[in-house]
Amino acid sequence: MGVVHGEEMVLNIGPQHPATHGVLRLQVRTDGEVVSQITPYMGYLHRCFEKHSENVTYEQVIPFTDRCDYLSSMSMNFGYVVAMEKLMDIKVNNRVEHIRVVMAELQRIASHLLCTGVFGLDLGAFTPFLWALRDRERILDLFELTCGARLLYNYMWVGGLSHDIPTGFVESTFEFLDYFEPKVDELENILAHNKILVERSADIGVMPKDVAISYGVTGPNLRASGVKWDLRKNDPYSIYDKFDFDVPIGEGKKGTVGDCWDRFYVRIIEIRESVKIIRQALASMPKDGDVHQSLPKKLRPPKGSIYARTETPRGDLGYYIESDGSPIPYRVKMRSPAFTALSVLDEIGAGWLLSDVLAILGSLDIVLGEIDR
């Protein structure tokens, strides 16, 4: 006794599709517009990061880490150097730490800006996306001023930085922050509280706490589900324990805890928190200190292995580095946050409408470079 369902249709979203943020291919089964199953196919951007790491020296790995999560290269560098410094037991001086934190937080802002903008774009609001890009450009200017590159920096080195910050950097950063804060409010006003966006994202794609934890989802996605977990607070690396900031969690203001809207809004609050951290870090930055001070002459870590994790804009980034004593790593493995975020997609996305699936995908903020590596 059948009811007329439309036939099930197998639909390929991607690899070339405006909403997949790159070359992800989602194979969805739809019944009419309802998606009954989502199968992500990856590997369209597999660039052999781990293989490369086994073929180049330790410092040459850094440019390749850049290219994994190309939206937050600084944080990727950061994770790698933190791991390496742990492995080699290098202490860097305070100025370097401060600069690193400032850079990582600026990168977090840039990344979150893009994410919120793209989320708006996925839901059809074009303008906020461009505004977000406009402000992101200012951050890129700061990076460019520091190290000359706009997107892939190769800035943090094991034991230091490639360049010291230039004179005037602190002032321009403050200037940028002053300019930027009203813009966040504007972004929030036009996007976050817009009724249409709320309707499109609240109560959609709810990721309950235990699902998030059992899938190993981290970062803003986890926090949006109501888990107060942030490595910067819970397992502080670098000098994050010195700063005073909040870890925002999803509160389900417009719907259920852990819905798309929460994931989106947590990022906006995180932008504000990052601004706070940057202000503190800039204010307390030591005036002197050579950024090249503790650069090792030869990057040749002792035999052994290390796993270290840091908080990138997308969540826990773990590096497992195994060294056999030669200047070339024996193995570098990356635990990427976006990968777990993508794996949860079928769990929380099946059963929703096609448009919802794309909204959920947008709210998970994945970067293909990091998933496929």
Partner: protein, 194 residues
């Protein structure tokens, strides 16, 4: 029922709020526009000092330049490159530290180092380069540079060098004719020795 009307109300108010924001952008377009008319205007290339005594220079990563007069062919840059896009071949100079007029070779670098090698081939494939800047640090003579470098005054920064033909993007820095010239010189030398 109340929710029905509050929903309508919030929809109307938030959307009008959004429209108001966009309207301010539209009206304030003169002030707010962030566009640069690129070929005519460009974003100022930031200048900075990074602590070397060479003073202020530009850090924008652009094309690699090599100052062949200064290169001693030590291959450090080639080794530093993570993608192996620098290819250097050298020949032993017959006359260490002296100029070779035939092939336009300078014997002494501007730092005063005497060159023992003649670089016969110095190719950088800019299509493979990942602009990581790693090659410029180890260079003892500071003659390969990407960012305008300490010698930045000699070469302009250029990041606009797209080409319709890929082979035009492989830059051959070795002076033209060096290889043949060297061969000739070596041949002559061996003949003389013989």
């Amino acid at each position: 029922m109340i929710k029905y009307f509050t929903d309508i109300f919030t929809a109307v108010s938030t959307i009008t709020g959004g429209m108001f924001i966009t309207l301010t952008h539209l009206i304030g377009a003169k002030k707010g526009i962030a566009t640069l008319q690129y070929p005519e205007e460009r974003w100022p290339r930031p200048e900075r000092g990074i602590g070397f005594e060479h003073g202020r220079y530009n850090v924008i990563r652009s094309r690699l330049h090599v100052d062949m007069d200064d290169c001693i062919g030590c291959l450090k840059c080639e080794r530093a490159c993570p993608v192996d896009c620098i290819k250097i071949e050298t020949e032993k100079s017959p006359d260490r530290g002296n100029d070779l007029k035939d092939i336009n070779h300078r014997g002494i670098t501007s730092n005063g180092t005497k060159k023992a090698l003649v670089v016969t081939r110095f190719d950088i494939d800019m299509t493979e380069c990942c602009y990581c800047n790693l090659c410029t640090y180890p260079c003892p003579e500071e003659c390969i540079f990407m960012t305008g470098g300490p010698n930045g005054k000699k070469h302009p920064i250029d990041y606009e060098f797209s080409e319709p033909d890929r082979s035009d993007l492989i830059y051959r820095f070795a002076k033209p004719g060096t290889k043949e010239g060297m061969e000739k010189i070596m041949n002559e030398k061996s003949q003389v020795e013989a």
